[in-house]
């Protein structure tokens, strides 16, 4: 008779360390602080983590392969489902890649609409992260305050996009609908409203001594570590790497606005926290300027591709800055109606790969804090 084996492939191959009084434990795939179905195998000595290893793939939905079987237009709705928190950035990455490949010009007004909605979506993503991170640290109430503000954003974005979470708004050469006066008026009111709320967030949460003790000096990532794993977004900027795709590889009209890329040197969970809060303010700044200067005109290019359209043969790479970092789309076309190859670069995947190294030797509670500070969206990592 064969020997009964316990555990699955990963636990069996996670061999015990030299000491035999350690505890090997599965954190996830059902765990309150892994935000979905991330699974981390952890070897604990008491409450200290000796080693850990993330196990991925529980929500792998073959998005990249779907890209190779669907037409260019049919693949659009997939984008909102890769990263459901910053869906519009993924919309933009896909549309931008196709536009770059086919040389489609996007009208001026459509560019402004894209900036406005994407930045608004970035704020909602950061707000949700903020609430969820504080929840990981054990405070239950702030997430509901964040959701109150996020609710307004979702109500606003519902007007042009027609959906609240998994947006499918961008089209090749523009967007699917023009911004209504109701949206513009609502957005105009929302900017000062959220500015007024941010000091409350700071007083309620950021200045709290327990939160500071849980974030400051926890999960230190050196710039070298970030570069080695290809971390981008607030994770890299929190470690002193001044890299933002909007500034480093300018696309669309971001160079017209006066805004800053917040960078902090500390590299701990607190700096990543502060970076995201600062990015909310910078996004508000961009929205304010875009609102003031939005021109009239077409919201989609004349002669924009029809659903059965096929781009010319070629290969392209296009990257945008998402809430979690650099979102890249590599696209190969063989001249038919379906792409030959689609590769999606998800920022969360690279950011998560830091975790195993950064979490070595920390307490279990700190690992939760580090994991939260990475701002992971598991469907984006698994794709």
């Amino acid at each position: 008779m064969s020997e009964i084996q316990t555990g699955d492939y990963y636990t069996r191959h996670f061999s015990p360390g030299p000491s035999d009084d350690t505890l090997i434990i599965n954190m996830g795939p059902q765990h309150p602080s892994t935000h979905g179905v991330l699974r981390i195998i952890v070897e604990l000595d008491g409450e200290y983590i000796l080693r850990c290893e993330p196990v991925l793939g529980y929500v792998h939905r073959m998005h990249e392969h779907m890209g190779e079987t669907k037409s260019y237009t049919q693949y659009l709705p997939n984008m909102g489902r890769v990263d459901y928190l910053h869906a519009l950035a993924w919309n933009w990455a896909w549309c931008g890649a196709v536009e770059k490949l086919a040389g489609i010009e996007v009208p001026e007004r459509a560019q402004y609409i894209r900036v406005l909605t994407t930045e608004l979506n970035r704020i909602s993503s950061h707000l949700l992260w903020w609430g969820a991170y504080i929840l990981d640290l054990g405070a239950f109430s702030p997430i509901l305050y964040a959701f109150q503000d996020r609710e307004i954003i979702m109500d606003l974005l519902q007007i042009p996009t027609g959906s609240r979470l998994t947006y499918c708004y961008f089209r090749f050469g523009g967007v699917s609908a023009d911004l209504s006066d109701a949206f513009l008026a609502g957005l105009k009111d929302f900017v000062p409203y959220l500015r007024g709320r941010l000091p409350m967030y700071r007083d309620l949460v950021t200045d709290n001594v327990i939160l500071r003790k849980r974030c400051e000096g926890i999960g230190h990532f050196s710039p070298e570590l970030c570069r080695r794993y290809g971390a981008t977004g607030p994770v890299a900027r929190g470690s002193g790497i001044d890299y933002d795709v909007r500034r480093a590889e300018p696309y669309s009209i971001y160079d017209r606005f006066d805004w800053e890329v917040p960078v902090l040197e500390a590299g701990d969970a607190m700096s990543r926290y502060l970076i995201r809060l600062a990015e909310i303010e910078q996004s508000l700044k961009i929205i304010e300027q875009a609102l003031a200067t939005i021109p009239s005109g077409d919201f989609i290019a004349k002669g924009a591709p029809k659903p059965k359209w096929a781009p010319p043969r070629g290969e392209t790479y296009f990257a945008v800055e998402g809430a979690r970092g650099k979102i890249g789309v590599w696209l190969v076309s063989d001249g038919t109606k379906t792409p030959y190859r689609v590769k999606l670069r998800a920022p969360g995947y690279c950011n998560l790969s830091l975790f195993a190294e950064a979490a070595q030797g920390v307490l279990l509670a700190d690992a939760v804090s580090i994991l939260g500070s990475l701002d992971l969206v598991i469907p984006e990592i698994d794709r």
């Binding site: 505890l23 309150p32 604990l44 109430s141 509901l144």
Partner: protein, 324 residues
């Protein structure tokens, strides 16, 4: 005619009646507190809290209790059945003993004993035993981690708690809770909290830690240990831990009221209503903390205790002794 007379000692009647009354008191209060906690949480979080079942959602807890009772009791394979089911019972039983010496009013107590305070402190230690057994016997690694946390936390925080309580006992010269109450006057500046603010602060912080309330709720830290020691409990197994938590909240608040806030005495119309008002004020403060603060980390929790509360408590005790 034969007349049989059974002579029952008055003290025994008082004790039995007291326990029955206390069971009702604890049950009623736990139900009110669960409702209150959810309402407080709701209003802090800008939502209404329960409001569907009964007026203002008052019957929500009853509905929840019925659901919990109706649920299947499950036990993980490989768990120690005896200890597994003993733990929730052990969590709830000492609560009755804890209430017995507490004077709710001038004549409203079930056991008048000179060592009332010692009795409470002795039985309060039972709580951690049940948490330890629950985590240990449930054959779950998260439960085990929760149990380990519970033990080291409770053991550590009992020391400053005792130091704070001793300061009051030295001042009054008695362990009798009725005597301690009567040693204080009806007005707030005559209460012990005015004389011993540091002891009150230490006591209240330690009480939060002893009852595993946020920000010291590490044994059941949801975002770290899923549910800590009660991960594997379903139905009333969980329900008893839940009830015990609220009952313990009432106990520590009652003891704080007796020791520091003048017990049942108030500026006007002294009586049990003053006692209840003070207890509920303290419990509301505990709820307020829970829904506002993040959780501290485990080493921070222990450092706070060993580096601050114990030295401060000792210094406070020494000064008290010197003055007395």
């Amino acid at each position: 005619m034969l007349q049989t007379e059974i002579i029952v000692p008055a003290e025994l009647v008082r004790l039995v009646l007291g326990i029955v009354a206390l069971a009702a008191f604890v049950g009623a209060n736990a139900i009110v507190l669960v409702w209150l906690e959810r309402k407080v949480a709701g209003h802090i979080q800008r939502r209404p809290g329960p409001f569907e079942v009964g007026p203002y959602g008052l019957l929500q807890t009853a509905a929840d209790a019925a659901k919990l009772i109706g649920k299947q009791l499950t036990m993980p394979a490989g768990a120690d059945a005896f200890l597994f089911w003993l733990a929730p019972i052990l969590a709830f039983l000492p609560v009755f003993v804890l209430f017995m010496p507490i004077p709710f009013g001038e004549n409203l107590y079930s056991l008048d004993m000179d060592l009332g305070l010692v009795l409470i402190l002795a039985y309060a230690g039972f709580g951690v035993l049940s948490l330890c057994l629950a985590g240990w016997s449930s054959h779950n690694k998260w439960g085990l981690l929760g149990a380990a946390r519970a033990v080291s936390q409770s053991v550590a925080y009992e020391i400053p708690l005792l130091l704070a309580v001793l300061a009051i006992a030295f001042m009054t010269g008695s362990f009798n809770l009725q005597a301690i109450t009567e040693g204080q006057g009806p007005w707030p500046w005559q209460w012990n909290v005015a004389v011993q603010p540091l002891a009150f602060f230490i006591y209240f912080a330690c009480a939060l830690a002893e009852t595993n309330r946020a920000p010291f709720d590490l044994p059941e830290a949801e975002s770290e240990l899923t549910a800590g020691f009660h991960t594997e409990y379903s139905g009333m197994g969980f329900g008893l831990f839940f009830l015990a938590e609220y009952a313990n909240m009432i106990v520590v608040s009652s003891v704080a009221t007796v020791l520091f806030l003048g017990g049942w005495q108030g500026p006007v119309f002294s009586g049990w209503w003053w006692f209840l008002a003070k207890v509920y004020a303290l419990i509301l403060a505990m709820m307020w903390f829970r829904w506002t603060y993040p959780r501290v980390r485990f080493d921070q929790l222990l450092n706070l205790n060993w580096k601050w509360f114990i030295p401060l408590g000792l210094a406070n005790l020494l000064v008290t002794v010197a003055v007395v």
